[in-house]
């Protein structure tokens, strides 16, 4: 099992566990993390935006063009921003701590 700590928008912590290979957005959406995931993973809505912490960035799969394009123009993106729908969880992400980013509106 992969352990994940989530900081929700209000600041409350949430601990989750995931199976190897699970889509990160699915995990957040199905929990009480407050992630809407309106487009269901089509890289169209930006509602699964999370801050992953600099130390985890290099363990994550590279961004595709669409994700890079979106993060480049989002109001609340940071260097450690990712769209959770583009990440499948792997064993080396065990212990990852993420923060749910503010909604883009």
């Amino acid at each position: 099992m992969i352990k994940i700590s989530v900081c929700r928008r209000g600041g409350e912590p949430l601990s989750l566990t995931a199976k190897e290979g699970e889509n990160f957005m699915h995990l957040l959406r199905d929990s009480e993390a407050g992630v809407e995931a309106i487009c269901g993973g089509a890289c169209s809505c930006a509602t699964c935006h999370v801050y992953v912490g600099q130390q985890w960035l290099e363990k994550l799969p590279p961004q595709c063009d669409q994700e890079r394009d979106m993060l480049g123009d989002m109001l609340f993106s940071r260097p450690d921003s990712r769209l959770a729908c583009q990440i499948h969880l792997t064993a080396d992400l065990d212990g990852i701590a993420v923060e749910v980013a503010p909604p883009e509106g």
Binding site: I38, C39, G40, G41, S44, C45, M70, D73, L75
Partner: protein
């Protein structure tokens, strides 16, 4: 204790259920779906799912675990036959569910035009997982597919089946594709891109009859007398609202259930949301039935806020997305064919934003392969304020700049 019943377990229904819980509703929430499959997303059915790139498990709107965790009782294969308004209950053939609040989210079904031969084997419509599985099993290199209707579904299936090696002809009655949703210049872009990838498009044309051999489709005849050989015919001519339960229950309907800005029907205990709802928009003073995920989500939240006396969701611009071949289209706002066009970027390199404006105010944006600019542009359109419209053409100035001006 109050109990809520939601008829229809699609995007709108599940959103209403989740929002009821998020807004503190503590009665029973029953989500009644007529399909066997657990609540799922429909948009991928005409895109990645047809190509086998999206698995059935990835279509789920929420896991069973997530639903039970929220005490949402999803009941599949549960077809409601009647709404008993005086008795405040809904009835299936074998069960009866009482409600204090009823949310109708019955969606729609594919329109089937009355064409000779439409009941032949191989003539399909696409709305459900079962439809998509059936069509997917037929797609193979060299198969000939004729699609009636050049809207989102028609073009998305044209793209997916071309990628699967099929030979595709799209027959559209209007003089351009995407005529209900896109400005004319954008229609021309999509016609060009589809043709460049081998899709044949017949505009201002319609099918006069479908011909078969041994009960199976073999060709379609156009009104121009042209005959197109076909192994599969997809009828993609729009959606019929499933409003029969409401009509029978005496609720005002007109090709959908009439609701006000709050998703409320004239019965204070009954709401209607999603593809089945025809909502009055005060700003445009028009009745609109909006077929989109974003609308289903927003109306689901709205109905839940009324039931729980919670603050309503913030107003949201209508928005849509489509993926065809390697082209991502996102549209926000509603345009009129006569609106002014402001083009940012070059359609020649398939990455641009097409704004429309009326009387100097932005009405919509269509973003092609520009998901980042789309998010900013959507805010600009929603703001409805004075902008230097001509300056939007200049890509050396970031769109974000205009959010602050």
């Amino acid at each position: 204790m109050a109990d809520a019943v939601i008829i229809g377990a699609g995007q709108a229904g599940i959103q209403a259920a989740l929002s009821l819980r998020a807004m503190g509703f503590d009665g029973r929430v029953r989500l009644l779906g007529d399909e066997a499959a657990a609540p799922y997303q429909r948009p991928p059915l005409s895109k990645g799912f047809l190509l086998g790139k999206v698995a059935e498990s990835e279509l789920l709107l929420r896991s069973a675990h997530a639903l039970s965790g929220q005490a949402i009782e999803w009941l599949g294969q549960t077809r409601v036959r009647r709404i008993n308004r005086p008795g405040r209950s809904v009835e299936t053939d074998t069960q009866r569910f009482s409600y204090d609040a009823l949310i109708i989210a019955t969606g729609g079904r594919a329109h089937r035009p009355e064409i000779e031969g439409a009941s032949l084997q191989g003539v399909e419509t696409l709305r459900s997982i079962d439809d998509a599985l059936r069509i997917r099993s037929e797609l193979a290199p060299g198969k000939r597919l004729v699609i009636l209707g050049g809207g989102y579904i028609g073009l998305e299936v044209a793209a997916a089946s071309t990628q699967a090696g099929c030979k595709v002809v799209v027959v559209e009655g209007a003089s351009r594709v995407l005529c209900r949703v896109a400005p004319p210049a954008l229609s021309q872009f999509f016609e060009k891109e589809h043709r460049a990838r081998g899709v044949e498009i017949e505009l201002s044309s319609t099918i006069s009859r479908i011909v078969g051999t041994d009960g199976k489709v073999s060709a379609v005849e156009l009104e121009s007398d042209r005959v197109l050989p076909a192994d599969i015919v997809l009828l993609a001519t729009g959606l019929i609202a499933n409003d029969e339960l409401a009509v029978t229950a005496g609720l005002p309907c007109n090709r959908g259930i009439l609701v006000n800005e709050w998703a409320a029907t004239e019965d204070p205990r009954i709401f209607a949301i999603g593809d089945v709802a025809v909502q009055y928009h005060a700003q445009t003073q028009a009745w609109v039935r909006m077929e989109s995920v974003a609308n289903a989500v927003w109306q689901g939240k709205m109905a839940a806020s009324c039931v729980t006396s919670s603050p309503p969701p913030l107003p949201e611009l209508p928005w849509f997305w489509s993926d065809q071949f390697d082209i991502k289209l996102q549209i926000a706002g509603l345009s009129h064919p006569e609106d002014e066009i402001i083009l940012r970027g070059d359609p020649g390199d398939a990455k641009f934003c097409m704004f429309t404006a009326r009387n100097g105010v932005l009405t919509s944006v269509s973003a092609v392969n520009s998901p980042g600019e789309f998010l900013v542009a959507k805010r600009l359109v929603a703001a409805r304020r004075d902008l230097p419209l001509a300056a939007l053409r200049d890509r050396s100035v970031a769109l974000k700049q205009y959010l602050l001006d």
